[in-house]
Amino acid sequence: MRWGEAVKKTLFLLLVTLAAGWFSLLMTRKSFGASLETLAESLDRQVGAWAATGQDGTYDEETIYDYIDGAGEVYRAYNMQGCLSRTYTAAGGEPAIVLDIFDMGSSEDAFGVFTHDRDGKPATVGQDALYRQGWLSFWKNRFFVSLYMERETPAAKEAAFRLARAVASLIREEGRKPAILLGLPQKGLRDRSVRYLHHPMLLNYHYYLADENILNLGKETDALLAVYNRDGKRARFLLVQYPNPEKAKAACSRFLAHYLPEAGGKGPLRLENGKWAATSLKGRFLAVVLEADSRSLAEDLLGEAKACP
């Protein structure tokens, strides 16, 4: 009897412990960056001399235009799910700090929107961070975070970094970068030139190609734009992953018809500016050398591009 009671007690304790563990785990996930709401709840409203003022702003893919005007299109083009905005102010003439946390829905798109503007000095916050005078940005997991100061002061800069690290610590887990990055040739790659995107409007922003979507880019395609420098010779390279080989082939045909009609799929073509352009299909991947200083560089890049999983 006493043995039976001990077993029951042990089992009960075990169940309670397991339940508490699951509950704790659920709470932890929810409390640490599971959503913009939980980030808003968890984030300190006081950071040194700066205190949050007013109500937090929340925006979706439609209302984001009300908040950041035309630039909202960039975030929409990366599938923005929501944006949380909070302003911190301090006394003594110090500038306000505007914190914007964008939920991009996936870590790949958080990385993507981070690559839209790669000016600045690298900083150690989140998974990648950049600091320009008065603006700190970073990405972690599916969040892209921007901290903007109306003007830079030493105290404001310190507070912005402190706030950024607080946000980053609340987003507990790191996210993965787009798998298509594995397909880029590595030799001579200018890391800071890499842009990950889906939308033809963003491709045109970084490299104007055409006034129509001649590569059939869209939400279901992943694209990388990158610059190479090998032995003083430069190249601009594009790698696109389509949902299936048929769509990749169709896009290649459309691109050739509109952009390189003379090429006929027979190797690099010399453009009017003396640069070389070429394409290569590998399953559902289309590699395009948009312009290279030499024919051999174009051929090498196409040869080295990988059809990653």
Partner: protein
């Protein structure tokens, strides 16, 4: 598959220069602007260092005097009243196209000064409206016979520069459709029936222009400066081209070397070469300088 009517980078390369693409594409030269396409376009740059105080608050009287001086010189008449009577008639219905971007809006004192001068020229109060994002729904704009275009100059994420030409993007229901290729087709908006030929005056506000943008908000106070100027012209292209030169010069000075506006504001040159809205080349601009001369960046 049709291969016609798609403009690609190759077209630019074939033409030899991006900025002249429109004229090589067989596109029609536009009409509908009072800009002088045959000769030079007159542009007035007026500056007063006292128009802003130490906190960059506007001195209304100084601002009104700048506006008066500019329109008088622009139209080569003896006084501001004469100038405004040349610009509008009492029967006109006038829309003042402003810009409400929160970080750098069209200054309310300037809107009020324009409205005051319009009323003095005989335009009925009920026939004047100042609006930006609601122009397509505004009853005065819907009936308008004349437009006054007024906005601050700034860098812009999609168009390179937020210009007078760009300010009319709210006259279309889907502005984002004009964002491709750095908004190069903005000039087309000026050819739309509800816009074409209505613009009587363009005022590019250069009081505290933004010469560099960053981040989601594209604004930082440290990238503005008290230029204390207005650029006034009947030719929006000439006014924008003049403002663009100032912005570029300020950037170069601030960053210590050439630092091009990104993306290149090609819509200004396209408005000249492709849409025929005015003159973008300095040699086609008759620039009149009034007031404060220091650090003009021109």
């Amino acid at each position: 598959m049709s291969v016609k009517n798609i403009i690609t980078r190759r077209d630019f390369l074939r033409a030899g220069a991006c900025i002249t693409l429109g004229s090589f594409m067989g596109l029609p030269q536009g009409e509908g602007s009072p800009a002088n396409r045959e000769g030079k376009s007159r542009v007035v740059l007026v500056r007063d260092k006292d128009v802003l105080d130490s906190k960059e608050q506007i001195n209304r009287i100084a601002l009104e005097e700048m506006l008066d001086g500019a329109v008088t010189a622009l139209l080569d008449v003896p006084d501001p009243s004469s100038a405004w009577r040349r610009l509008v008639t009492p029967s006109d219905i006038v829309g003042i196209k402003t810009n409400v971007w929160p970080y750098l809006p069209t200054p309310p004192p300037l809107n009020e000064a324009i409205r005051k001068r319009l009323v003095e020229a005989g335009v009925g109060e009920e026939n004047i409206s100042a609006d930006d994002r609601g122009v397509l729904r505004d009853p005065v704009f819907q009936r308008s016979t004349a437009l006054i275009n007024v906005r601050p100059m700034r860098t812009h994420h999609w168009s390179g520069l937020g210009t007078l030409l760009k300010n009319y993007i709210m006259f279309v229901p889907h502005p984002s459709r004009y964002h491709d290729n750095a908004c190069e087709r903005l000039g087309a908006i000026w050819q739309l029936p509800h816009v074409k030929g209505k613009t009587r005056l363009n005022i590019l506000v250069m009081l505290t222009p933004l010469f560099h943008g960053m981040g989601p908000h594209h604004f930082s106070r440290q990238h503005t400066w008290p230029y204390c100027g207005l650029i006034v012209s009947q030719d929006p292209v000439a006014a924008d081209a003049t403002g663009a030169r100032i912005i570029q010069a300020r950037r170069d000075a601030f960053f210590g070397g050439e630092r091009q506006v990104t993306p290149s504001p090609r819509h200004i040159v396209a408005a000249d070469t492709r849409f025929g809205l005015g003159n973008s080349r300095p040699e086609r601009i008759d620039l009149i300088r009034l007031g404060w001369q220091e650090d003009q960046y021109l």
